[in-house]
């Protein structure tokens, strides 16, 4: 009886989180590609702009943020695609639990496999792009908070385009405008620190964005999936 009650209490969050992490572990090659993309594109910047440290220093924070955004965007397309194709998305839609909670589990798994690795790799890229060392901690903090927002907002876009054959490009088009405030305050956090200002205010705004998107995005994604997955 106790186990039955516990199963009733389970919102589906933990189950979907565990499932997606397990799937990611079994396809670790796929999971690594956003991080590899992140590192490879950073090689293009000295080649395309300039190898001079003084020049790179100015653009480092913004560039790392742009690359993190693009890497997240590339990985966003796959969030629901395989579930939609093998039918497990429909199973999720007909479960008695509230839909936003299993979705939040999926999004958390997505962040743990893309946003978190990107955040952890970012100081290395900061070093390569000669970001001043005071910028490392703000960079990691802002990416940790900001990439969660990117995953959450991206999930709404992924839900809106899941049943479209060429959804990937459209997804970027839909989601990019919503990423712009995140990148503004993400880079502001780092550049404030580099300029010797208090970098907590922009980080706090990122935190507010995180709070708002964690509350609203799963609801919007659930509403979107109910529309799109039935088509």
């Amino acid at each position: 009886m106790a186990s039955q009650a516990a199963r009733k209490m389970d919102s589906g969050f933990a189950a979907w989180l565990r499932r997606d992490l397990l799937l990611a572990y079994r396809r670790s090659g796929e999971v690594a590609s956003p991080v590899i993309f992140f590192i490879m594109v950073s090689t293009l910047i000295p080649l395309g702009l300039t190898p001079e440290a003084a020049q790179l220093e100015k653009v480092a924070a913004g560039m790392i943020w742009v690359m993190a955004l693009l890497a997240t965007l590339l990985s966003m397309d796959g969030l629901f695609t395989s579930d939609y194709q093998d039918g497990s998305l429909e199973q999720m839609l007909i479960t008695p639990q509230l839909l936003p909670l299993p979705l939040l589990g999926k999004i958390t798994a997505h962040w743990l496999t893309t946003g978190l690795p990107l955040t952890l790799v970012s100081p290395l890229l900061g070093l390569m792009l000669s970001l001043p060392s005071v910028g490392y901690l703000p960079l990691v903090c802002s990416l940790a908070l900001g990439t969660v927002c990117l995953s959450l907002v991206g999930a709404v876009g992924a839900a809106l385009t899941v049943s479209l054959r060429k959804g990937g490009l459209l997804l970027s088009l839909l989601v990019m405008p919503f990423y712009m405030p995140v990148i503004i305050f993400g880079t502001a956090t780092v550049s404030y620190a580099v300029d010797g200002l208090n970098w907590l205010p922009p980080l706090a705004i990122l935190g507010a964005m995180f709070a708002a998107s964690v509350a609203l995005c799963p609801l919007a994604a659930a509403g979107a999936l109910r529309v799109t997955a039935s088509n």
Binding site: S163, G167, L216, T228, S230
Partner: protein
């Protein structure tokens, strides 16, 4: 009686007879046929008023309003720029509200209004950006400046583009309407950021000149024609929205008998 039943079957399951009379207009508004017929009656008058107000505002603003002390005659583009920017932003709200009504009350009529509002809003946003660029050259010395308000208008243009792209991506009319309604609602989150952006990233652009709570910082002789132009743009927007919606009604209802009758009557006459 048959037209009555197909008229209301498309909107809500309950007919108008069950509801109190004060709500009937709301249900009637949900009927594409009723809207098409009624808007056909309003349209000539509304277009006439819009034309008159726009002509008055333009002549007043371009010919009679005093020259600006610093900018000379180049400031007169404000009479296009500001109303377009106004409508670009309110147009997004109109689109999102129409989408929300569609999602909540399942009115297909409001989805048609939403679809019609997207391209109009996008064009107005483009006009605001374009006139801003033309104005920027003599004032700031550059066509494009990465200023907070310009950037948020550009983001608004992207938001419109997203709604339109999603609308055309789906073959099913129902999925297209509901998906883009959700996107439009999510996009409204961006509008407060646009309005706050003036305070956040104040750079080159002057702060908002028109405030509802305090007296305008413009001279009254310059401000009055601007007000007329804003009203004129709202009227023009209403005309354009009704025309686009009527088009959409005919396209979506092309298989119903009343549209066929309308088309054959037009072809015969």
């Amino acid at each position: 009686m048959s037209w009555l039943s197909d008229k209301f079957s498309s909107t809500l399951s309950g007919g108008p007879s069950k509801e109190s009379p004060s709500w009937q207009w709301f249900y009637r508004l949900g009927s594409p046929r009723w809207f098409y017929q009624r808007s056909g009656q309003w349209l000539p008058w509304l277009s006439l008023v819009a034309l008159l107000v726009l002509a008055t505002g333009l002549v007043w603003g371009l010919a009679f309003a005093p020259e600006d002390a610093k900018q000379g005659n180049s400031f007169r583009i404000i009479y296009i720029h500001v109303p377009a920017a106004f409508l670009a932003q309110s147009g997004y709200f109109i689109m999102a509200i129409a989408g929300a009504i569609g999602l909540i009350w399942k009115m297909k009529m409001s989805y048609m209004v939403m679809k019609a509002a997207a391209p109009i809003g996008a064009v107005l946003t483009f006009i605001a950006l374009f006139t801003g660029a033309v104005w920027g050259k003599p004032t700031w010395g550059a066509y494009w400046v990465w200023d907070a308000r310009i950037t948020s208008m550009l983001i608004l243009l992207f938001l419109y583009a997203g709604v339109m792209a999603l609308q055309y991506a789906y073959h099913s009319v129902d999925a297209a309407s509901r998906a883009s309604a959700i996107l439009a609602l999510v996009g409204t989150v961006n509008i407060p950021i646009i309005n706050k952006s003036v305070d956040w990233w104040y750079t080159l652009h002057q702060p908002a000149t028109i405030k509802l709570t305090s007296a305008p910082s413009m001279h009254m002789d310059m401000f009055m024609p601007l007000l007329v132009m804003i009203v004129g743009f709202y009227l023009f927007y209403a005309v354009a929205l009704i025309l686009h919606t009527r088009n959409e009604i005919l396209r979506r209802e092309r298989k119903t008998s009343w549209v066929r009758e309308l088309v054959t009557a037009k072809a015969g006459g």
